[in-house]
Structure formats: structure tokens, C-alpha cells
């Protein structure tokens, strides 16, 4: 259910995102999913890579002066049809949880499903909720196999 995500701090200046993705690209890091949280002052880049590439990618970033951290997020599958996502969000809302952020994979998941990265305000409660409601989630191994 939980998979590892790398978050990177970016100063808000032109070219910052390109410089970082170029660095990772040249280092042979393949980005499976990426999201940009942009504020007036700074940006947070969140990326998912294959598990074998997590440590080398973090090292590469730190060696180049970036602040990078690894944390856990939920990887869930929702039916790839109208209202597929809103049903999931309604369930979260009903449980009095909220979504901190959410983004999707570049590649398609299994047939008829869309894979999402989710960070809710309470990870443990989210895990229980998803289990109880039989929401399909992906493990780190399943993500690696995508």
C-alpha cells in the first residue's frame, strides 16, 4: 500500500525544475511519476522512481546541493471510468480525512485502472480506511513492475 517517494526542495527561480530533472536524467534516473507543488516562495517536487533507484537518486540530489527526503505515500488504483476518482474522494471525505496532495503515474496501471499517488493528512487512518473499503493499492514491488 505504501510506497517510497522522494521530495525535493526547489527555490522559486526560472529553470530550477529543468535543472533538477536534467540532473536526474543525466544520472540515469527514470521518473515514473512527478508532481510539482508551486507556491509564491518555493516549490516542492515529488517523484516516484523504481526502488533500486531511490538511494542513488537521493545521493545525486544531495551531492548537488539539493535538499531531498524520502517519505511514504499511498499508491491506490481507481477504476478508469467517470466518477472513479470522485467515489474515492467521497469515501475519504466521509471518513473525515483530507487529501494533502495527489498525482498520477505517467504509465497506465493494469487494464481499466488508473494508479494514483495519495498523501492524506493521516497515513495510518487512510490505510485502515482503504483496507476496509477494499480500495486496490499497489506495493513497492508492483510499482517497480509497472
Amino acid at each position: 500500500m505504501f510506497i517510497k517517494q522522494i521530495s525535493v526542495f526547489l527555490e522559486n527561480h526560472p529553470g530550477a525544475l529543468r535543472e533538477m530533472t536534467e540532473l536526474l536524467g543525466k544520472g540515469g534516473v527514470d521518473l515514473l511519476a512527478l508532481s510539482v507543488a508551486d507556491t509564491q516562495n518555493f516549490g516542492i517536487i515529488r517523484i516516484i522512481v523504481e526502488s533500486a533507484q531511490i538511494d542513488p537518486a537521493v545521493q545525486l540530489l544531495r551531492d548537488n546541493g539539493y535538499i531531498a527526503k524520502v517519505n511514504h505515500v499511498i499508491c491506490a488504483e481507481v477504476p478508469d471510468r467517470p466518477l472513479g476518482l470522485s467515489e474515492l474522494l467521497a469515501m475519504i471525505e466521509k471518513a473525515n480525512l483530507s487529501v494533502e496532495y495527489m498525482y498520477s503515474f505517467q504509465r497506465a496501471s493494469s487494464q481499466g485502472e488508473a494508479a494514483l499517488i495519495l498523501r492524506l493528512n493521516n497515513g495510518d487512518k487512510a490505510a485502515k480506511l482503504f483496507q476496509m473499503n477494499n480500495v486496490k493499492t499497489l506495493s513497492q514491488e508492483q510499482v517497480d513492475a509497472l
Binding site: 517517494q5 526542495f9 527555490e11 516562495n41 516542492i44 539539493y66 535538499i67 494533502e100 498523501r119
Partner: protein, 439 residues
């Protein structure tokens, strides 16, 4: 920490009875005033204008009648107009570039160099140095007094001096390792930078280096910065104070009690004044620090206004020295920023940052005027501890810092988080303020 020995270089003077000291200071002041009146036209004119004759100054209590000296006087009478000795007796010139216009210089006689060396030898001894030590001088060796001051003091002690001068961090570290440096002399910001670099290189100061103490000065720093330097380098970090106009580094120095800097009062008289009115303030009250030299012969100074804000105390120090102590410089009368009518000292903001967990002590203040209202931006470097994967986490950190600054300084600011190491580490006086209102 503190594996350093507690010795006193000149116990007769450093532990002198304070009544006796006052008498000695008075006698030396009388001589200095006479010398100034007879040899320096500026002082003669000012004393005449104030209706004071040298014989009116009979002791320490009469100090308050004497005119002040300002940095501008050293510019106006540049280069030799304030010499109180014939030029042939001057054996050294030291100076400072000054941020605007003409530099200022000070001429030293052989006596003055000896006095300065003595002050600096006391300084190094107070930090635990002896003739057994290896002293790495990382202050610039040049017109700036830092390098020569530390060199001369260590030389007088009989320590082994490595005159590295400033810059070239990799070479500094190599020499430090190879020669077994035990005492480091540099600016506190450079000490922090050296410590960070040493840690990044995987060097363990406890095992790979022999450092035991450092004398750090030439810029104001904080207690929190001391803690950081002591942790990074595993040393005792002692504060020192000095200025070219009076001598150079060593005018005042910290002992291993690290509780204020002992002033070399047998060579200088320290006063605290109200910067607005010029009146003397009692010990314990914060105000502008003023020095009078009483043993200098080349370019003595009467009541030189440092524009540094601090307090003085003559409370007994556990080290045994009776010399009065000055607290940390908490601001500058002329660096003081007036933002929306509020007096702001950059050191206040620094104390907030270093006091907050996981926040780096490096900062830049950007003051501007937008729609005829002053704005203050505080740039702070992002650190691993402050960072999180959600915007709300980082915004909370930002709000916390903003709130702390507001509570200490009293005005609202905009805190901007910038990339790690993006704020320049200065090897000299750190430039931490950009005031766009003056551009």
C-alpha cells in the same frame, strides 16, 4: 569540552586590584591628554574650543570632559594628521578599507606594536594557548589588523605560527591536519564554514585534528553560533574584540568562562555612553562603547566612538581576572536599521534563527520601500530538518520563523526560503543586509 589549560599571561595586570587600576588609568590618561594636546592639532583645537587645558584633566573622573573622536576624523586627517609621534618613530601602518570613500589608517610605534602583541598574547593565553601550541592564523595578513594581530600575539607567546592568511579552504584544512593546528584564529562565520566543510569531507575533528580552541572576532556573532562552532570543530570558541583605531584584535578577549570579554584596561579605558546625548552610562546599561588609549604613542585616541552597542560589567570573573568585561556586541548605532520607525539590529534576527531548531544561522536581510512603506524580507536557507513533502509543513515552518522574528524585533517580515548554501559565506565581515532604500 575545555581540555584547555587555564593560564593568565600577565597576572600582575590582568588580576590587578580595581582601585589600583583606576589610579593607573588616571595617570596614563593625564599623560596621553598632554601628548595629544602638544602634538595633535585636532585635539588641541577641540580642547581649546571646549575650554579645557591638559592640566584640567587630573584623573579618570575628568575623562567625561574630553571631546569625542569619530571615524570621520581619521578620514579627515588621513593619513598622518593624527600622529602624536614623529613619523620616523612609526614602524607600521595598519588600516581598514572602509566601505565608503577614503580608507582609514593607524600608525604604530615600536611601543604600540609591543602593547598590541601583549594584548593578543593575553587573548590567546585566555583561550588556553601556550608556547606548545600551533596557531593557525586565518585572518587576512595585510593592512587589516586581524592577521598581524594574531601573528604577533602567538609570536610573543612562543607558539608555532602558521600564517595562512584568509581564503583557500582546502589548503587551510590540509595544513590544519598536517601541522596539527591546535588554535584557530579567524572570523566566526569562516569558522562555521570551515567546520561545515571539514564535516562534509568526512573528517572527524575529534580524531583527525588536534584543534582545541579558537579566537574568533572581526564580526559580531551569537551564543548560538558559538555552540554550533564548538560542535562542528569540537573546540572552545572564544570571542575577541578589537579595532584598528585602538590597536587591533585583542583590545578585549574572552576567557574560558565565555562570559563576556575582558578589556585590557591597563592599555585602554572603556566607557558606555548614550549614543544620542553622549553622556556616560553606568556599568550594566546598554549603550555605545567608547575607548580611550592610554599607552599608545603613535596615534593615540581620546574617547573614540566605536558605534558598537554593548554593556560593561566589573563583576568578578571565575577565571581570576579583575579586568572589566564587555558583553557581546548586540548592534551598531550606524548599522541599526530603522524599519517602519522601529530600530532593528541584524543580530536580533540572527539570534532568532540560530535559536530555532534545525534552522541554519545564515541569513540575508533585504529592506525596501514599496508604496512609501518599508518592507523587510528575511532570506533563510532551507535545511533538511525544515523540509517536508507538503506545502503546509513548510508554510508552518515559515510562519513559525516569521512569528519569532515579529516577537523579537517587533515588526512583520516576509520570510523567504532559499536553496541551501545559496547565501554567501563571508571570509571577512559578513554582509547580511541589502538596504535598497539607499540605492
Amino acid at each position: 569540552m575545555s581540555q584547555s589549560e587555564r593560564r593568565i599571561f600577565n597576572p600582575a595586570m590582568e588580576c590587578i586590584d580595581r582601585e589600583q587600576l583606576r589610579k593607573l588609568q588616571g595617570e596614563r590618561l593625564v599623560e596621553t591628554v598632554k601628548r595629544e594636546y602638544e602634538n595633535v592639532p585636532m585635539y588641541r583645537a577641540r580642547m581649546d574650543a571646549a575650554g579645557i587645558k591638559p592640566e584640567d584633566i587630573r584623573g579618570l573622573d575628568d575623562l567625561k570632559y574630553l571631546p569625542f573622536t569619530e571615524k570621520t576624523d581619521l578620514r579627515d586627517y588621513y593619513p598622518f594628521g593624527l600622529l602624536a609621534s614623529p613619523k620616523k618613530d612609526i614602524i607600521r601602518i595598519q588600516g581598514s578599507s572602509g566601505t565608503t570613500g577614503k580608507p582609514i589608517v593607524s600608525g604604530y610605534t615600536r611601543n604600540d606594536i609591543a602593547v598590541w602583541s601583549e594584548m593578543m598574547a593575553r587573548t590567546l593565553t585566555a583561550a588556553g594557548a601556550t608556547c606548545e601550541d600551533v596557531v593557525q592564523v586565518t585572518y587576512g595578513l595585510g593592512l587589516f589588523t586581524g592577521g598581524f594581530g594574531a601573528y604577533q600575539g602567538a609570536d610573543k607567546l612562543g607558539a608555532m605560527v602558521i600564517p595562512m592568511s584568509s581564503g583557500n579552504t582546502q589548503r587551510q584544512i590540509t595544513m590544519m591536519k598536517d601541522l596539527g593546528t591546535t588554535i584557530l584564529c579567524c572570523t566566526p562565520s569562516y569558522a562555521t564554514y570551515l567546520g561545515e566543510t571539514i564535516r562534509e569531507m568526512g573528517i572527524d575533528p575529534g580524531k583527525d585534528l588536534k584543534l582545541k580552541a579558537g579566537c574568533f572576532g572581526a564580526e559580531p556573532w551569537t551564543e548560538e553560533m558559538r555552540v554550533r562552532i564548538e560542535q562542528l570543530l569540537e573546540i572552545d570558541a572564544c570571542d575577541i574584540y578589537g579595532l584598528t583605531e585602538i590597536a587591533g584584535p585583542g583590545v578585549a578577549f574572552e576567557c574560558l568562562e565565555k562570559h563576556g570579554m575582558h578589556i585590557n584596561e591597563d592599555h585602554v579605558i572603556a566607557e558606555i555612553i548614550n549614543p544620542a546625548t553622549g553622556e556616560q552610562l553606568p556599568y550594566g546599561m546598554p549603550g555605545e562603547l567608547v575607548f580611550t588609549t592610554i599607552t599608545k604613542t603613535g596615534q593615540p585616541m581620546l574617547r573614540y566612538r566605536t558605534h558598537d552597542i554593548c554593556t560593561l560589567t566589573d563583576d568578578k570573573c571565575a577565571c581570576g581576572r579583575t579586568l572589566a568585561r564587555m558583553g557581546r556586541i548586540t548592534g551598531r548605532t550606524d548599522d541599526m536599521l530603522v524599519i517602519r520607525g522601529v530600530n532593528v539590529f541584524p543580530s536580533q534576527i540572527e539570534s532568532v534563527l540560530v535559536g530555532a531548531d534545525g534552522v541554519a544561522p545564515h541569513y540575508m536581510l533585504i529592506v525596501d520601500r514599496v508604496n512609501s512603506s518599508d518592507t523587510l524580507e528575511v532570506q533563510v536557507e532551507m535545511t533538511e530538518d525544515m523540509f517536508g513533502d507538503t506545502v503546509s509543513h513548510i508554510e508552518n515552518v515559515r510562519k513559525y520563523i516569521t512569528g519569532q522574528i515579529k516577537s523579537v524585533v517587533g515588526i512583520a517580515s516576509k520570510v523567504t526560503l532559499v536553496a541551501p548554501k545559496s547565501i554567501p559565506r563571508s571570509e571577512g565581515k559578513a554582509k547580511r543586509v541589502i538596504d535598497k532604500r539607499k540605492l
